[in-house]
Symmetry: D2
Subunit: 269 residues, 4 copies
């Protein structure tokens, strides 16, 4: 019906299909959240409610896409792990990334307004997310990816906790920055303890570890799945199982080859 002589312009469109049989990580990342956090008066160094809004938004995405086996979030970013055999939107990179960014933005807005009826999202400062997809060929590298994000969370949180601890004790931001310049982790722990009276170990796990959303199966039967031979009926059955699996929210260490990973063989499959 909608044919016209102008339709040739479609020939300029390009599509990138992510390599089959690789794990896909989609990372959504808040744009300009430093300004955003100032505009809405985030608590420092961590705003628990804002983190919960992120977590609620990510959980909604995970509920909608059963291919997402795991998600890890911290600060204004979230990484979603799509299983190796995922064929969502034929693995079209642009489709996947724009939808995840779009959903994150809407859910964030809705959950924020629900949590903060007194300071709802305003037009001049809206939550905005970019997204990217990365293909990882092996599960070892996937674990390293999430290790990378969790180590990053730890490093940033230790710095921010110490920095704001010093500021709350009366230092100017410049003085605090200078005090921390060149320090390593153990120095920061000690500064925090001695100068601010804070034992970093007692800080809330959600700040130190970030948040992990993971699909959990009570009875998981590992299936040897050759590359080619899964019937569409089996696929539907497996998909249904994934949809029914409950999604848990935890704040635990998943760095490196932590047994946590091996206890969840479905993440690998």
């Amino acid at each position: 019906m909608a044919n016209s002589k102008y339709e040739y312009v479609k020939a300029f469109e390009r599509e990138n299909y992510l390599l089959p049989e690789t794990y896909i990580v989609i990372r959504v990342d808040g744009k300009g959240f430093h300004k955003f956090s100032q505009h809405y008066n985030f608590a420092k160094p961590n705003d628990l409610q804002a983190l919960q809004v992120m977590n609620a938004a990510a959980l909604e995405i995970m509920k909608r896409y059963s291919d997402v086996q795991l998600a890890y979030g911290d600060s204004d970013e979230y990484s979603f792990l799509l299983r190796r055999k995922c064929d969502l939107y034929e693995r079209r990179e642009m489709k996947l990334c724009t939808l995840f960014a779009s959903l994150m933005a809407t859910f964030y807005t809705l959950f924020w307004n629900k949590a903060h009826p007194e300071r709802p999202i305003e037009l001049e400062q809206v939550p905005t997310f970019d997204a990217r997809a990365v293909s990882y060929p092996s599960f070892e590298i996937v674990r390293d990816y999430f290790s990378w994000r969790q180590v990053d969370c730890h490093i940033n949180n230790l710095y921010n906790t110490t920095f704001w601890g010093l500021v709350k004790k009366g230092m100017t931001p410049q003085e605090a920055e200078q005090r921390l310049s060149g320090t390593v982790s153990s120095d920061k722990n000690e500064i925090l303890f001695k100068d601010c009276g804070v034992n970093y170990n007692n800080e809330p796990e959600i700040y130190k570890k970030g948040t992990i959303l993971v699909r959990e199966f009570d009875e998981y039967k590992s299936e040897a799945t050759p590359v080619t031979a899964v019937s569409s009926r089996q696929r539907q059955k497996q998909d249904k199982l994934r949809r029914k699996a409950r999604i848990e929210k935890v704040h635990v260490d998943i760095i490196n080859n932590n047994p946590w990973w091996d206890a969840r063989p479905w993440l690998r499959e």
Copy 2:
């Protein structure tokens, strides 16, 4: 600060930079809007308020990005034209597309809730957008692109207007579909007139033509801009001019080499 032995996973990231010196069109497209329109009881064949929400959202994006010279919207989609020399986010395709999709989703949500306090956006049915970017090497093809979208708008609107006209006259959707099967434009115009008493020409322009948002300059001085030699000061000055230019909303014919285009030489530059 944030270095760790896991950082090597970044080497798997890929970036696509859109070809320099080409016009970029970013098209955002509603996902599952058929269902969305049912959930929120859209008027048929066109819901004026929903179109105005789209237009308001697109306008907000255009205000934020002065590189957008023109936008065209119809139904649940919007196409944004970024000027040939645009260097927004270094022309990174993924960054541009995810941000536009993300902004469209949030603005849609906010404007919707403002327009419909009685039926606000609900978690189970949120407005979602995908997006894609296309590079066009010449202005002639850019015009053909927008002609394609406006012809598409016309064809769809004529069909929908006639279809719903027949349904409102008592046909079942199946009967209406059958009645229209194999008809050309002139047939539909006649059916509409004879069976439904509607003169298509008198239908609102926003339905027949879609919506054009265009940056307008009162005094425009075309500048011969060689590929290489624009000073950063000139660039800033031009950017400021674009920011200050008013954005007009019109519903006119822009198909093919309509003089409308030539009257706006800045679109070409």
Copy 3:
């Protein structure tokens, strides 16, 4: 030294880096070899000397690039397996493919002229190759890739052997084609045996199986190599070992999970 105001044109160049930690297969493929084989009077269905020229050219490439662990050739094509950790030309797809195509063409020309001093390569009909690179994320898929090529060799060779057998017995090409239309493997074996007096099993292995070039290590010590931590000294040592490994030429069955693969663990690493 070579800077000029025109150098900005380099910004239009694009580079594709093949995904790290995946196996790379580069397949070079003769262009228009049907015509080429007619021009130089190839024997039918197989020209042993032409196959040997292909094998000699592929061997030269394999000698030059120690990252090539395995190569498989048949007819006018050759597939080279580059190891998973290969960093040749930073895994730039275009560089790899154009060099392999270029080398194949020159070596083919030189070996041909050596083998056929009486009918050297002529300007109007030169051996030409295209090439493509494919990334495979797991070793199982790599084996399937080579299985695909070897099954293809078998299917084509059985058909061609029967076709030319019938033609040599006096059929026209059209008659032979018709005779074979709709036949399966067992039919062709029988036709070959009854009509042409040829037992397919006795055909030369090089025709039935194609040619495998494989790097062989007498004493191979598998090393657990984590993704990140191989010193450059270790890398050099391993590279030296690969260079010194002898390259064997065999014509054996490598389809599926043949033990042949497991006996060569270095192919996987």
Copy 4:
């Protein structure tokens, strides 16, 4: 016929189609030609016979592909301009680049052996080429591309001529390099004249300007060709004209908007 359960491996192949309606430049570049030139005792600073081998090889490519309107070569590289509407191999980047690299290598080998029967190409040192394709959206940038290459030729040739002039006068390479360090063009011209008795202006044009191969039409009728509407019959007719056009070899200045370009409007079309 050739279907097997292994054929799924084809799904991992990726194809890049160069953007329609852009000019394509394919640049082939000798690999390791410094070593190559030593092995075969090239004359310094320029080996006329080697340049003629390059030119002959490029000419053969141009004869085969009527889409090539222009080629420019210098030293061990050649750039081929494919017309904007070229649809050769559906504009598949990899196909185009590997074929051009492959053809360049074979033709170089054949023309070299013809020119130097006394020192034919040897297996241990074969001419090898990589290739890349670049899309340029406008003709102005295409001209700048060729300006870039010709300026580069000039800069390199002036340096090399002076360097080897000094060496021939008795300097060591180190001394010559030091003498030229920090000098600009006018300095080199003067050194060449005073120290070596050479007037750079009198040097052969082929060294100073490189070589241009251009398709010439005696009676060229510019046709307004809209993007969409060229009949296949017209296309065949135009293609035939291009095939019949003679190819000229010249060594002239084509830098910037030299009238040379405007005198050949078919290059733009």
